[in-house]
């Protein structure tokens, strides 16, 4: 098929050509941008692959009444942990001041011992017992805090924090100082946090420190169980813990449910962006159908002449599809440029990973395939125009 006559035909129908080109361009801008943003939020919404969520539970205890003021937190937590470990269905039990998921209320400043002027903010989780197993975290190195007598002041740090404090270096054995501690603390291990939030790296700055602070009134036990606890198991737990200390509110939740709540905004954003992507594809398909239908209606007599001169129905379909493709391509180029410009504006306050070339190409491929499919409907209608239409008045 010769392209030159088709290009000439397009140049004579500037309105249809412009409308289809703009339609595709806007769709491509929206689609590429929404896809980039959904990738960003999806990574925060989905649980990180390195965490094992199976049979992980959080039991939060809130102590109340005047008796809470004289509470010996360490003794209380150790007694509770002893009880929890005695339950036949509990495999591991640990205690944490706060589950490191979502926003956490306590923020500390810290710095590496060798660069005291470089202050970084982070979230601190104070922990006791088998909290790593309870949280399903993979540790890179052992936590010496649990090995009595060896290195009581060791801390675990998240990988992001390690890279921030000790860029390009092995942080194990390095020392850092927390604003809440007068002493230097050795980095005893690295962990990957329970959530990922690319672009807001400070959210990934987490320090795990041994021991619960003495003025806590609410903390959580993290359990790794042998099987999913039954209703009776939870009742035994409630009864046992209440008998140890009656003035408290006890709440159980699956760790995955806590993660689910923490990722709520990101998950909602992914859903909304997917909805917008679906709608824009639908609207652009309908747009191509309507504008191509308009073009077919305008050219009924011309199609009849072509048919009278020997063009087959297949030729007519091919003519409209080729014409449509020639309109879609500049639209996609224009849309890609627009998407790049928009991404540049957005990158000023958000560190978003751009789409890979493959994702970009796949996205454009999808737009062009749907555009062609949409044009097929009026093209088939055009192919039905009989040669006798050439003799009818316009």
């Amino acid at each position: 098929m010769h392209l030159l006559p088709i290009l000439k035909a397009i140049s004579r129908r500037k309105v249809s050509a412009t409308l289809i080109g703009l339609e595709v361009a806007f769709s491509v801008v929206i689609l590429l941008n929404a896809l980039t943003m959904s990738k960003f939020y999806a990574s925060a919404a989905l649980p990180p692959p390195h965490v094992d969520w199976t049979n992980r539970w959080v039991v939060t205890v809130g102590h109340h009444g005047p008796a809470r003021l004289g509470l010996d937190v360490a003794a209380r937590a150790n007694q509770d942990l002893e009880f929890l470990r005695s339950l036949p269905w509990v495999h591991h039990a640990g205690a944490v001041s706060v589950v490191p998921l979502g926003e956490m209320r306590s923020v500390v400043a810290l710095w590496s011992a060798e660069r005291p002027g470089d202050v970084v903010t982070a979230r601190v989780v104070e922990a006791l017992g088998d909290f790593q197993q309870g949280l399903g975290m993979q540790r890179v190195e052992a936590f010496p805090g649990q090995n009595a007598g060896k290195e009581q002041r060791g801390v675990l740090v998240s990988r992001a924090l390690s890279e921030r404090l000790f860029p390009g270096r092995d942080s194990l054995g390095q020392h850092l100082q927390l604003s809440t501690s007068a002493e230097h603390l050795a980095v005893a291990g690295l962990v990957d946090p329970l959530e990922q939030y690319p672009g807001l790296s400070h959210v990934g700055h987490v320090v795990f420190r041994a021991g619960l602070p003495g003025d806590l009134t609410q903390w959580s036990y993290v359990l790794h169980t042998r099987h999913a606890p039954l209703g009776q198991d939870w009742q035994d737990l409630q009864r046992g813990m209440t008998s140890l200390y009656p003035h408290r509110v006890i709440r159980e939740e699956a760790l995955q449910a806590v993660a689910h709540t923490a990722g709520g905004i990101a998950r909602g954003m992914v859903a909304v962006l997917l909805l917008v992507m679906g709608l824009v594809l639908l609207v652009s398909c309908l747009g191509v159908v309507s504008i191509t239908s308009f073009s077919v209606a305008e050219r009924t007599q011309q199609i009849g002449i072509r048919r009278a001169l020997g063009a087959t129905r297949g030729d007519i379909v091919r003519l409209f599809l080729t014409e449509n493709l020639l309109l879609i391509i500049p639209g996609m180029v224009l849309g890609s440029l627009g998407a790049l410009a928009l991404a540049r504006v957005q990158s000023q306050d958000l560190v978003v990973e751009p789409l890979s070339l493959l994702e970009w190409v796949l996205c454009l491929g999808l737009v062009s395939a749907l555009g062609q499919l949409s044009a097929l409907v009026p093209a088939l209608k055009a192919a039905q125009v009989p040669p006798v239409a050439a003799t009818r008045s316009p």
Partner: protein
């Protein structure tokens, strides 16, 4: 004689080309609902419901952390300023006589409820009387605690309408007793519905969550040894215990002031610039100065409205434009389907202007239908967003303003999109048709 009213109305309606007209209306409704829906949500998240009396309110902030260490420096108007203050600093700041009103407050997690029931978690805000007048909190039953009760730290509370509903079935509970942290506390007032979005009096932590259901005199914060529930900036080591926390430079309180004039603002800024923190600070912290932020600046410094909603507004504006382009195509197809009729009209003497306005009128009719359709669609979108973002506590609602905006936008888009197709129809030539008959 004038045509009957319904016949005149019919000129605006789609007529026999209903499938194409339905497409136009649906497409327009969809585009406008997405555009208006996200714009309305952006307005809600940006604090459009914050009352006008908040204009004279300023958040007091102290320079605390070095600029390069401030994780949110990209968003802050003045990096290093922190809105969460220590107890000694707030106590010292309250001595200033410049502000007309001052509202120190702190949120805490308490446990309690009816004496006869097991304790339940209760979010509480410890505050002073001025908090209620500064933030426009009205009471549906009872009144504020008295100044004497405030200074003495009497065991009194003001509860939310929701908590009053849950605990007392909605009846006037003034004079009833609650047991909170083991103390019997008397209800002196019940707040009228108070749900500022965002919770602008404390933007330190999860500020789209609901306002605290229990208000307690600030003096009780010390007596109850209440653990602060909002963000704690732990800047320095301190011995364990509530008194040690109160004596430290660690931040957990908010302070707002009302400054009635520009002169007051200037004076208070000068006062803060020279302010030195009253709790000893570690050497890495900044040790002098502060500033006040107007509510608008404070919201902006906290990333309000959130960038997520701004992203969606940008995408929805692009989507609305795509729908408008679509509309041009639909209108061209629809108008062209009766071009022969228009040519005959022209031949029978209709002027170009009359043809143009006839089509613009049809566009307006379609736009009105599309706008009306977009109202329930935008409402549905907001309801869906309420479900998708449960953490935002059902804050999105279709308002009369958004509904009017939807119809107005649809009418505007229909005129813009219909301009070229209407012009094209007005340019059809009558002579050609007559010649060919």
């Amino acid at each position: 004689m004038n045509a009957p009213h319904w016949q005149r109305l019919r000129r605006f309606l789609p007529g026999r080309h209903w499938p194409l007209s339905a497409m136009v209306v649906a497409g327009l409704g969809l585009g406008v609902s997405v555009l208006v829906g996200f714009a309305a949500m952006q307005q809600t998240l940006g604090g459009q419901d914050i009352p006008a009396h908040a204009d004279g309110l300023y958040s007091v902030q102290l320079r605390s952390i070095p600029v390069e260490s401030d994780p949110l420096r990209a968003w802050r108007l003045e990096p290093g300023l922190v809105d969460v203050l220590s107890y000694p600093d707030v106590t010292a700041l309250l001595k200033s006589t410049i502000p007309e009103l001052q509202a120190p407050s702190v949120a805490a997690q308490l446990y309690g409820g009816l004496p006869s029931m097991p304790a339940m978690p209760l979010k509480a805000r410890f505050c002073t009387q001025d908090f209620f007048s500064m933030f426009g909190v009205r009471l549906m039953y009872g009144g504020l605690w008295t100044s004497d009760q405030e200074h003495a730290g009497a065991d009194v509370v003001i509860i939310s309408q929701r908590l009053n509903q849950d605990l007392f079935g909605g009846r006037n509970s003034v004079g009833q007793w609650l047991e909170i942290e083991g103390r019997m506390m008397r209800v002196v007032g019940v707040m009228a519905p108070f749900q500022p979005v965002p919770r602008y009096y404390d933007l330190s932590f999860r500020f789209f969550e609901t306002a605290e259901p229990v208000m307690v005199p600030l003096a009780l914060f010390r007596t109850l040894r209440a653990p602060p529930s909002e963000i704690v900036l732990a800047w320095q080591p301190h011995p364990e215990g509530h008194e040690a926390l109160l004596a430290s430079s660690n931040g957990f309180m908010q302070l707002w002031v009302r400054l009635p004039s520009a002169q007051h603002v200037e004076n208070y800024r000068a006062f803060l610039a020279a302010f030195r923190p009253h709790a000893a600070r570690p050497e890495w912290m900044l040790t002098k100065g502060g500033n006040i932020l107007s509510l608008a600046d404070y919201l902006a410094s906290k990333g309000v409205p959130p960038r997520e909603s701004t992203t969606m507004v940008v995408l929805s504006a692009l989507f609305g434009t795509a729908c408008a382009i679509n509309l041009v195509g639909f209108l061209l197809a629809r108008f062209l389907s009766h071009s022969k009729e228009v040519e005959i009209r022209r031949a029978l003497g209709a002027t170009r202007w009359s043809i143009f306005f006839r089509h613009i009128r049809q566009c307006l009719g379609l736009g009105l239908l599309g706008g009306l359709l977009s109202i329930p669609m935008a409402g549905g979108l907001m309801a869906a967003c309420n479900r998708l973002f449960p953490v935002l506590s059902n804050i999105f609602h279709m308002t009369a303003q958004a509904a009017v905006g939807a119809v107005g936008t649809a009418l505007l888009l229909s005129i813009l999109a219909g301009f070229y197709p209407s012009l094209m129809m007005s340019r059809l030539r009558p002579a050609q048709r007559i010649k060919l008959q």
